[in-house]
Point group: C2
Chain length 299, copies 2
């Protein structure tokens, strides 16, 4: 378990004077709530459907909201918090409205495509991926502690100003996250294995078990199945999106996973597949150690 | 999260007067500790290597222990808590020593083979599978609360006396578990999907991710990979054993899992694999509901 420092203890000088968040769902709403608390003097606006911005205002997540992109005009930070493919469309759609010196960032979990799109546009863009979330979605699940102690991966392109990167780093720190700058292509390759593959495997395992054994079988399950399939509760549309956006990195990761299961399949019931489990438990111990190192602030 | 009632509140009349546990590791040691607490008047013996029985005595898990099977002679309940294949060998090995009316049970997670072996012998055997455990192994990880609130699956054969089944049910209840009688073949088929497949998938996922991304990639992982690979920390030899014992049920479960991943693989990056995730999240909700029903005592 990683330590989650109280985000409230961080009293930083705001790196921005007004923030517009496009998409006030789980991530956008949580960021709005966290920024209101971390930077009380900063104006936080939201762009979303009317019903959502009304609820966001009632919850105190945003000062003001609207359905139209013109709202981003007054912001010196614009955060794209819609689904990944929509964020890419938003980049050009908000251009006519955004202030010329506005910094734009996103909170999507795939980075190469949006970085490539930003390279083609006159925008000062910093890619962002807060490594957190939840199996619930929407504003009602938003939580200002969402980012506390979690990593926030940032990617810079050739057009990204150094100053913009520093200010987005400060924003991530202000909400309690541990930001790290990574290469966008490397990010997507690594996430295919440590985030996307676990999701796909978890969902397919849940489906395999549910379809094969039904209620009676599931009622006999212990904690192992519950842990291993927790991610299967995630919102389907988000994963449909990620499979499309990061398909060329996910495909080889799936191939590797299928290869290992086939290797295991051929040895089950015949020779002992001991090496396969030993190797896995060594990596698991390493994962736990790395988590401890990270939560001790050494990463 | 399932509720775990305090095992201490259960003050049952002991169904046995003395219990011999063969194999004082994580499961055997936990059962010894739990029985000492639940049935203070009952003698608990342990058979294991000398160093283990000495530690078990020091910990107060057993009254007395030895390396030799003759120790089971005085017991009216004999619990086999060695690895699955060893338990089957023990069944015939302890025959010359066991009292003729002794009830024998085991705590292995595969049931068909040991039930078939017991059918061939003049033993009063009840198959048992407490659905719990942990990624640690050995007596040092033993814990008297191990069984509290957990299921304990029991299987009966044609030689099993009704009275023996009732007394083993009482023993499982005495240590706080929720016992259920199931068919041995059905048990192994269901466990292949809800227990063995999750373990194999978790281990292979950990291996795929670790080998592909190394320390740097693992250091970027969020809670999803941690949950999904928790089981990968399990003791390799136990799973080697289970793969061998239940190979003919595990093989089709692995085939089904591989089939779903291949189906997903062909749709990644092309058409939307939405149905695959929707189906998975429906089963996940059902799994959570069934867990709530079970912990409410309705199963």
């Amino acid at each position: 378990v990683r330590s989650r420092p109280d985000a409230r203890r961080i009293a930083s000088r705001p790196a921005f004077s007004s923030v517009a968040i496009v998409g006030v769902g789980l991530m956008g709403g949580s960021l709005a709530l966290a920024l209101r608390r971390a930077w009380p003097g900063v104006a936080v606006f939201g762009v979303d459907r009317q019903a959502v911005v009304e609820r966001a205002q009632e919850q105190g997540a945003i000062h003001y909201g609207a359905e139209d992109l013109w709202l981003v005009a007054g912001a010196d930070l614009i955060v794209l918090a819609a689904p990944a493919a929509t964020n890419i469309e938003l980049l050009s759609a908000l251009l006519p409205h955004a202030a010329p010196d506005a910094v734009i960032t996103d909170v999507g979990s795939v980075k190469r495509r949006i970085m490539a799109a930003a390279e083609q546009l006159p925008v000062n863009f910093v890619g962002g991926h807060p490594v957190c979330g939840g199996t619930s979605s929407g504003l009602s699940a938003a939580n200002p502690d969402m980012f506390a102690g979690r990593q926030w991966l940032l990617t810079a392109g050739s057009r990204t100003h150094r100053d913009a990167l520093e200010r987005v780093l400060a924003m991530a720190r202000a909400v309690g996250a541990r930001p790290r700058v990574v290469d966008a292509s490397e990010h997507d390759r690594l996430m295919a294995y440590v985030s996307h593959l676990p999701q796909l495997v978890s969902s397919m395992l849940m489906r395999a078990a549910g379809e094969a054994v039904g209620d009676h079988g599931l009622s006999l399950a212990g904690a192992g199945l519950l842990d291993t399939t927790r991610l299967a509760a995630s919102t389907a549309s988000i994963w449909e999106d990620i499979c499309r956006e990061n398909g060329d990195e996910i495909a080889p990761a799936l191939d590797r996973m299928i290869g290992l299961l086939v290797e295991l399949r051929t040895s089950v019931g015949t020779r002992a597949p001991l090496g396969l489990f030993d190797e896995a438990s060594r990596w698991r111990r390493r994962l736990e150690e790395l988590g401890e190192i990270a939560s001790a602030g050494k990463v």
